[in-house]
C-alpha cells in the first residue's frame, strides 16, 4: 500500500471516528419510556456523604448528568471475580475506621462488617434484635440497668479472645474519647441524662464537674469524671457479664448498642499494645477529643466481625477479607448465614464520576454501584427484576439483567422549619423591614398557626416529589418516618397542596394581633402582604427546588406576597441559622439510631438539634417537651406507640414545620448477588452487612 493511500485511510478512520462520536447514539431497543431529566443536578446525596450532617449536603463540581454516557442496547455482563464483592460508592470515603470516632455513614457501613456489638438487627427488622456478642440479657424493673451475658469463644481478628472487660473498655473508651462534634452526645444523654448531651468529652467533663469550661476542671475532677463513666459500665470477667447502668429507662438502648460508635467491641489488650489508652483514669485526658488522624484505629482494625480489614488506600480502595475464625456457627435467622462469610473478599471503591461507575457495572466489574436519584431513570432499562421492601418482586425489562430494590423507606426526613420567634437583634436582612408593612415580616410572624398552616397548604408536595426527587419520595407525615413506631399507618398527611385552603388560612391569620382576622382587616397580612428571604445552601439543588416550589405556591395566592430565594454558602447559612435569624430553614435529619425518640427529640424538643431553632411558643413547646420525655421513658412498646402517634399527629396539627418529604431509596445489584434485604437502620444496606450476601453465578 502506498504512503498516500495509507494516509488517506488513516485520515478517513480519524474522521469516521469523530463523526461516530458526534452522532446521536442509537436508542436502546428495550427502553420503555424516555426520561427527561429536568433537575439541573449535582448531587451526591447526603445520606451517603455525611450521615449526621444535613440530609442533603451536596457538593460536586461536576456538571451532571449532562455528560451522561450514551445509552446502548442492554447486554448482560459476564460474571467476574467470583469470590469478590466489588462495591462502587460515589459519596466519599470514611473519615476514619475508629468506630468510637465515626459519625458518618461511609465509615460506619464499613465498620459494621468488621466490628460487632452485643446485639444486631434481626434481618430487615429495625425494632427486633438478635444476640451477637451477648448470648442474652436482662433488664431490671426500672428499665435503667441492663445486664448482658457475654459470649464465650469469640476471637478477635488479631488473635485475642473476647472477654467482658473488652466490652466495658469499648464503651468507656468511646465516651471518654468523645471527640468534638461526634456521636457521643447521645451516649452522655443515655448514661447521664439530657443535660449532659454536650458536644465533646471536654464539655461533658466540665458539665459533670460543675465548671464553666474544661480548662477549669482540676486533675482530681478529671479522675472523678473517668470513674463516673466507668461506674456506668461494669464488667465481671468471672461471671461473664457486663452491666450497663443508665440514667433512666431507655427503650432504644438496644438500638443504640447496635450502633458501632457505642457497641463496636475492641480488644483492650490489643488496643493498649498499639498505643491506645490503657483504661487508667489518671491518663484518659491524653486520648480525649482526638482528631481523626490521632486515633490508632484510623486505618487499622481489630474486631470480631465476619470481615477483617485487609487494607485501606485512601483515594483508591478499602479491602476486607473474610475472617475464617468467625464465631457464628448457627444461622442468624431462618435461612440466614453462619460460619465464615461466603464472600471472601470485599473491595470498596469511591468513584465520583457517574459514567465510570456505570461502565464498571455494565462490564461486570462492579457488583453494586451507587446511583444518585437523578440517574435512576437511566438505569431502568437495565433492570430485569424489581423488588420492594417486602421482597415482593416483579419483572422489569425482560432484556435487562439487574436486580433492583425500590420504594425503600429511608430514615431521612426533610422539612422546612419555621422560626416562630425570629432573632432581630442587630438587624435581620432576611425579614426585610421586620414590620408588617408589605416590605418585611415581624419577628413572630410564624407564631401564628394560620400562617404556618397557610404555608403548608401552599407547598406543592407532589411537585416536589415528582420534579425534585424523580418520584423517589413520599410526603412526610411528621417527624417520624414511614415504617417506624409512631408513624400513622393508613393516615394521609394532614396537608396537601390546596391554594384555596392556603388563602383561607392567610385570611384567618391575625399577625397584627388586633383580634380581627386578616381577611377582614386592612392592616393585616392579606392586605399588606409581606416580604422575606428564604435561603438554601448553594450547590444543593434539591433544596433550591423545594424553596422555589414554596415561593411559587405562596406568591400565587396573593400578588402582595413576596418570597425571595437566596443561595448562601453552607457555613454562612449555618451561622445565620445558629443565630436564629432565618425565617424558614430547609434542612433534613438522618437518624442516629432507629427509634422514634431520635426523631421526636431532634425535631420537637425545645433543646433538640432542630427543635431549638424553631423557637416554638413556650406553651406549645412545653406540651411537646412533655410528650417527648414521656415517650423516652416509657418502656412498653404499645404505650410508646400511642405517645409517638400523638406526637406525630400534633406536629401536623400545630404545623410546627412543613413536613416536606422522605426520600425513598433504590439499590441496584448485579443478578448474581444473593441474600440482599433492606434494613433501613443500616447506613448503607448494600454493603452494611455483607455477611448476609453471597455471589452465585
Amino acid at each position: 500500500m502506498s504512503h498516500k493511500r495509507l494516509m488517506i485511510l488513516i485520515a478517513l478512520g480519524v474522521i469516521a471516528s469523530m463523526i461516530l462520536a458526534g452522532c446521536p447514539q442509537p436508542e436502546p431497543q428495550v427502553v420503555e419510556k424516555v426520561v427527561t431529566q429536568e433537575v439541573p443536578v449535582v448531587q451526591t446525596v447526603v445520606v451517603e456523604k455525611e450521615k449526621p450532617v444535613e440530609v442533603e449536603v451536596v457538593v460536586t463540581a461536576t456538571p451532571e448528568p449532562t455528560a451522561a454516557p450514551p445509552s446502548l442496547p442492554v447486554v448482560s455482563p459476564p460474571f467476574k471475580n467470583g469470590d469478590t464483592y466489588v462495591v462502587i460508592t460515589g459519596a466519599g470515603e470514611p473519615e476514619t475506621l475508629d468506630p468510637a470516632w465515626t459519625y458518618e455513614s461511609a465509615g460506619s457501613s464499613i465498620e459494621a462488617n468488621i466490628y460487632e456489638g452485643l446485639v444486631w438487627f434481626d434481618r430487615e427488622r429495625t425494632d427486633s434484635f438478635i444476640p451477637a456478642l451477648a448470648t442474652d440479657w436482662k433488664i431490671n424493673d426500672a428499665g435503667d440497668q441492663w445486664v448482658f451475658n457475654i459470649r464465650d469463644g469469640v476471637s478477635f481478628h488479631q488473635g485475642g479472645t473476647l472477654e467482658p472487660h473488652d466490652v466495658a473498655y469499648t464503651t468507656y473508651r468511646a465516651l471518654l474519647q468523645g471527640r468534638i462534634d461526634g456521636p457521643h452526645w447521645m451516649s452522655y444523654d443515655t448514661f447521664f441524662g439530657p443535660e449532659y448531651a454536650v458536644a465533646s468529652v471536654e464539655d461533658f467533663a466540665a458539665a459533670l464537674s460543675g465548671k464553666e469550661s474544661y480548662d477549669e476542671v482540676t486533675p482530681e475532677e478529671l479522675v472523678a469524671v473517668c470513674e463516673a463513666v466507668k461506674s456506668k459500665i461494669v464488667a465481671d470477667d468471672d461471671a461473664g457479664t457486663v452491666t450497663y447502668n443508665l440514667n433512666t429507662a431507655t427503650p432504644w438502648f438496644l438500638s443504640l448498642l447496635a450502633q458501632n460508635f457505642l457497641g463496636g467491641v475492641v480488644d483492650q489488650e490489643w488496643m493498649v499494645e498499639n498505643g491506645d489508652w490503657d483504661g487508667d483514669c489518671a491518663t484518659w485526658q491524653n486520648w480525649a477529643n482526638p482528631a481523626a488522624s490521632e486515633t490508632i484505629l484510623l486505618d487499622q482494625a481489630n474486631g470480631t466481625g465476619p470481615y477483617m480489614l485487609d487494607h485501606w488506600t485512601p483515594g483508591e480502595e478499602i479491602v476486607l477479607t473474610a475472617f475464617e475464625d468467625y464465631w457464628r456457627d448457627e444461622p442468624m435467622w431462618e435461612g440466614g448465614p453462619s460460619g465464615p462469610a461466603s464472600i471472601k473478599r470485599v473491595v470498596i471503591k469511591d468513584i465520583s464520576e457517574w459514567g465510570t461507575r456505570l461502565a464498571m457495572l455494565e462490564a461486570g466489574d462492579a457488583d453494586y454501584i451507587y446511583v444518585p436519584p437523578p440517574y435512576r431513570p437511566q438505569l431502568e432499562p437495565y433492570v430485569h427484576t424489581w423488588c420492594n421492601q417486602e421482597e415482593e418482586c416483579s419483572e422489569g425489562n425482560a432484556d435487562g439483567y439487574l436486580l433492583a430494590y425500590r420504594d425503600l423507606p429511608s430514615p431521612a426526613i426533610t422539612p422546612a422549619q419555621f422560626n416562630w420567634n425570629i432573632n432581630v437583634e442587630g438587624g435581620n436582612p432576611f425579614i426585610g423591614s421586620g414590620e408588617l408593612d408589605g416590605n418585611g415580616i415581624p419577628a413572630d410572624f410564624f407564631n401564628d398557626i394560620h400562617i404556618r398552616r397557610a404555608f403548608n397548604y401552599c407547598f406543592d408536595f407532589q411537585a416536589m416529589i415528582d420534579d425534585a426527587l424523580s418520584g423517589d419520595g413520599i410526603q412526610a407525615q411528621g417527624p417520624i418516618p414511614a415504617g417506624m413506631l409512631g408513624y400513622l399507618e393508613g393516615e394521609a398527611p394532614m396537608f396537601t397542596y390546596d391554594p384555596a385552603r392556603c388563602e383561607e388560612e392567610f385570611k384567618l391569620a391575625d399577625v397584627d394581633k388586633d383580634g380581627i382576622p386578616a381577611g377582614e382587616d386592612d392592616d393585616d397580612v392579606w392586605s399588606k402582604g409581606f416580604y422575606f428571604q428564604m435561603s438554601y445552601n448553594t450547590g444543593n439543588d434539591t433544596r433550591l427546588l423545594a424553596s422555589e416550589i414554596l415561593k411559587a405556591g405562596i406568591e400565587a395566592v396573593n400578588p402582595n406576597f413576596n418570597v425571595v430565594v437566596v443561595g448562601m454558602p453552607w457555613p454562612v447559612l449555618l451561622n445565620s441559622r445558629r443565630a436564629g435569624k432565618l425565617p424558614i430553614y430547609v434542612g433534613g435529619w438522618q437518624e442516629d439510631y432507629h427509634d422514634p425518640h431520635n426523631w421526636a427529640h431532634a425535631f420537637l424538643h425545645s433543646q433538640g438539634a432542630y427543635g431549638r431553632i424553631v423557637n416554638m411558643d413556650p406553651e406549645v413547646a412545653a406540651v411537646f417537651d412533655d410528650l417527648v420525655l414521656k415517650g423516652a421513658t416509657t418502656t412498653d412498646t404499645e404505650d410508646r406507640r400511642v405517645i409517638y402517634e400523638e406526637l406525630q399527629r400534633k406536629a401536623q396539627e400545630e404545623a410546627v414545620n412543613i413536613w416536606m418529604y422522605q426520600v425513598l431509596d433504590r439499590w441496584h445489584l448485579q443478578p448474581w448477588m444473593k441474600g440482599f434485604y433492606n434494613n433501613p437502620a443500616y447506613s448503607q444496606p448494600p454493603y452494611n452487612w455483607i455477611y448476609a450476601l453471597s455471589k452465585q453465578q
Binding site: 480519524v14 474522521i15 462520536a21 454562612v572
Partner: protein, 354 residues
Amino acid sequence: MAGYILRRLLIMPLLLIGVTLLIFVMLSALTPYERASLYVQDIPKRQGAIEAVIEKYGLDEPIHVQYINWMFGRRDADTGMIEGGVLRGDLGWSKVGKSSVAEVLGRRLPATLELALWAAIPMLGIGIWLGVLAAVRHNTASDQVLRVASIIAWSIPTFVFGLIMLMIFYAKLDWFPPERLSEWALREVQSDSFHAITRMYTIDSLLNMRMDIFADSLRHLVLPVLTLALLNWAFMLRVTRSSMLETMRHDYVRQARAKGLHERKVIWRHAVPNGLIPVITVGGLVLIGLLNGVVITETVFNWPGMGSFMADAALSLDVISVLGVTLFSGMILIFGNLLVDVLYGVVDPRVRLR
C-alpha cells in the same frame, strides 16, 4: 552553562515562595468559617465546633501569620511543641488523603508518572511524525486531512472523549478497562511475593517477571493514554508542522536537495533535527503538564494520580493538600523548565545559556 543552572536553582526557592504566597492570598478570600467547615462534619447537630477549629488552627489570624505558621510551624497551645512547618519537612495533614501530604504525593506520583511516560510515546512519536508528514506534503490532500483531523481532535472535550471510549471499549467490549489493574492483578501486586519497587506497575511487573500483570497494566493504560494522546497529539502535530515548514524553506535544505541527496535524507537528516528545536520546548511543557497530573483523564478513568488528588483536595477545600500539591507542581515546573532550557542549549549550539 553551569553558572546558568546554578542561578536558576538559586532562584527556585523565591519562585516557590511566590507561588505559595499567591495561593495563600487567594485562599484568604475564603472566610475562616468556610475553611473550618472542612474539618467539621456535623455542623447541624452540634454547634460550636467551627469556632473550636478556627481557634485550634489559627484560621482567624492575619493571613501573613498563617503563612508564616505554614512555613515554619505553629506552637501548639496545649503541648508547647512546634507542629508543622514546610521548612521542617512537614507539608501537613491531608484531609482528603488521610495521611501526610508528603505520603500522599509519594503514593500518587508513580501512577501519574507511569501514565505520563506511556502517554508521551504516542503523543510525541505520532504527533511529531504526522507533523513532519504534513509539512513534507504541504498543501496536499493528506496535509489538509491531517490539519482538519488535528483541529477536530483538539476540539473534542477530553471528558466526553474519555467517557465515550470507556463506554465502547470497556462497558460494551470489555477490552480496555479503567483504573490501573484488574482485580486479580491488583491482588497479586499487593501480595508479599510481588516486589513493588517503582510502584509503576508496567515496570514493576517486568522486574518481577510477571508478564501477565504487565499485559494487564498495558490493557488498563490504553484508554487513558489514548485520551491524553489524542489531545496532545493534535497539538504536537500543529507545532511540528509549522516549525518544519519554516525549516524547509531555509537555504541549507535547498542546498541539500541541490547536492542530489535523497528526499528522505534531506528531510530526516537535515530538516527534522532543526525543525524539532521549538518542538522540544513545547513537548517539554506538555510533559510537565502531564507530570502535574491530568485531572479529567484521571477522574474519568479512576486513575489514582496527582490530578485526581488535586481535584478532590480543591473541591473539598483541603487547603493544606492544595498548598502541598501546588508546591510540588511548582517544583516540577521549575525543574522541567530548567531541563528544557538546558536541552535546548545542547540541541541548538547557537543557543548559549548564560
